[in-house]
């Protein structure tokens, strides 16, 4: 049987466009705020909102542990969550390459719906465009989101303070490693799955434990290492890590060992880096470890007055070394 694919007619605004919207997107995303009107009409409580947008062009679009659809929900949900905002509404815009299999698009939409449901967020607006063969690669998705900032929470990149503990919510570098292996450029076979996950529950768990949290940031492109350098600079502090406490999956370690890569610089898609006063850190980690995606949460270091703008690492042989500052793009199109 011939495979059904997206054609330019699916993006022309006529009946075929309606078919895609009704049979794929509406079918999966249906909720009371998603209507056929030009814009979604949404109720709003008093207080502050967080608002963000992100584009997704990952290659390959399907990878172990997720796909571009799941990633596009998690990315925006996690960005909102990092500001202490409960994600409420998302929009999504698709640019689809002519010839893209409809079955794969369905799979992506299903996965988006499932992830949105899990994250407690509604998809309330969308757009579909079809580009000619070769003008995009497969499918690109942009999601935009609104969340409500929770009372008493105030997180930002310039709020880290000496004496803060540095926490990661799970093992590092898994998404980047998964994409690397999935592309098969190196002929390495490793059973690694992406950490791609929505993290509002994790953030809620933390702020239910204490509101006294200074920074929450999700480590996507550039990995945890890049986040640490960003915060060291924004907050004008130093960071000291304990290498032995940084959780890294054994398979990720193996792949990194072979290719000479630093797991701290491989992308994550379901990991947060958290800065909070040292005295709260054990309770935060204990609470996180009960969560679905945060069982390997760990305190990996502390914020120092010294070495402003630098990340120092204590190694397993008791020496101290600098974590090299982030360099050029390690891998393009990971998210």
């Amino acid at each position: 049987m011939e495979e059904k694919v997206i054609t330019l007619a699916h993006g022309a605004g006529g009946r075929q466009t309606s078919d895609v919207i009704n049979n794929i997107f509406k079918k999966n995303f249906a909720n009371e705020n998603l209507t056929a009107d030009d814009a979604a009409v949404l109720p709003m409580d008093a207080g502050k909102i967080a608002f963000t947008t992100d584009g997704f062009i990952v290659s390959p679009a399907l990878f172990p542990g997720g796909n571009i659809g799941k990633l596009s929900i998690c990315g925006t949900v996690n960005d909102l969550s990092c500001m202490g905002a409960k994600p409420l509404y998302l929009s999504c815009a698709f640019v689809i390459e002519e010839g893209f299999p409809i079955e794969t698009l369905e799979l992506i939409a299903e996965s988006m719906a499932k992830t949105a449901k899990e994250a407690g967020v509604r998809i309330v607006a969308g757009d579909t465009k079809v580009a000619g063969k070769g003008q995009v690669d497969g499918v690109f998705i942009t999601t935009t989101g609104i969340g409500k900032i929770q009372e008493g929470v105030n997180t930002a990149g310039d709020l880290a303070k000496p004496g803060d503990a540095v926490i990661v919510t799970g093992d590092v570098g898994r998404h980047g490693c998964t994409i690397l292996v999935a592309r098969d450029s190196y002929g390495i076979d490793a059973d690694v799955t992406s950490d791609c996950a929505p993290l509002w529950d994790a953030v809620k768990t933390m702020i239910d434990t204490t509101k006294d949290i200074h920074v929450i940031r999700d480590a996507t492109r550039g990995g945890v290492g890049t986040v640490l350098y960003e915060i060291a600079e924004q907050s004008s502090v130093g960071i000291r890590l304990e290498k032995e406490n940084i959780p890294v999956d054994d398979k990720v370690k193996g792949v990194c060992g072979m290719l000479g890569l630093e797991p701290l610089y491989l992308a994550c898609e379901g990991r947060l880096v958290v800065f909070a006063p040292k005295e709260h850190a054990p309770a935060i980690v204990e609470a996180l470890r009960k969560g679905k995606y945060t069982q390997n949460a760990a305190i990996i270091g502390e914020v120092t007055k010294e070495n402003v703008g630098k990340v120092i690492m204590k190694t397993e042989i008791g020496s101290e070394t600098i974590l090299p500052a982030p360099g050029g793009e390690l891998l393009p199109r990971i998210c």
Binding site: Y186, G187, K310, I317, G318, S319, E320, T321, I322, G327
Partner: protein, 350 residues
Amino acid sequence: MSSETLDLARDIISNYSGRTLKIMEVCGTHTHQIFKYGIRKLLSSDISLISGPGCPVCVTPTGFIDEAVMLALEKNATIATFGDLVRVPGSEQSLALARSKGAKINIVYSPLDAVEYAKNNPDEEVVFLAVGFETTTPSAALAVKNAKEKGISNFSILGANKTMMNAYRMLKDSADAFLYPGHVCAITGLKEYDELKDEGIYGVVTGFTPKEILGALAMTVKKLEKGEAFEENCYKRVVTYEGSPSALKLIEETFDSCDSEWRGLGIIKDSGLCLKKKYSDFDARKKFNLPEITGHPNPHCRCGEVLQGKCTPKDCKVFGKGCTPEHPIGACMVSGEGACSAFYKYGGDF
């Protein structure tokens, strides 16, 4: 290594006091690991660690890059190479610049991939840039043998393969002892290292984990303190006395020994490998009738002196200013295993 042994090794290298001991790590991976794990910061000020010429990219002379650029741009060959070489500056340009002018440069992870590419693209002349020591040479040998057996005539190599023995001899006065490169020794075995010991060249075969490096350093210090001739194997889980007979056989069947130019060290007698006569059809220099090319490295670059431990990267005027990993002037800044790159990434004060 137990934590007691680790503590003991650290004590030995941290608390040594006496005449200055010069220890040269020969392998680029050792250089990288030593910086990555902050091992220099553990050393007593009476121990001086020198990063030697063991990174294949770093010792490849400028003229070699010029030859590759000529093959790519003037002879229209498709270059297959390990990634690092692409950014090494030649006299006038790097392969990266040549690529922007239309040269076809393919990055490969094994010479066998280059043979496969040649097989699948019979209209292209594919030249593999064969650099490296005893560790990488067997795979180049295998590629040439494969190409010959399968009659793939559009494949050849531009050779700059090197052997370590005579380099140690040349560097004898630069260091009191060497951390011998574990992976080279895994191929060559230790017979020749016995000969070095008889000539007054000492060292310890060293593995690559931080603990292995620490252990080998402590062993070296203890041996030097004793003042006796020595050659020790601290990487027994991998290195045997015989080495790898099958890899050695491959090299022997494919290559003859020849003189070779090392960046900064000049020509070292019998330190290179050239294809045997029966494989001369696979020698790109002959196939494309390349002229003798003398490279002209950037006069500000002091890579050559860095490789001999005559200066540290920080003594070089362009280090970290004109010469950075993003815009390297010298080969030692290009390769992740080069001393300049390691100093740049890990050498900041804290």
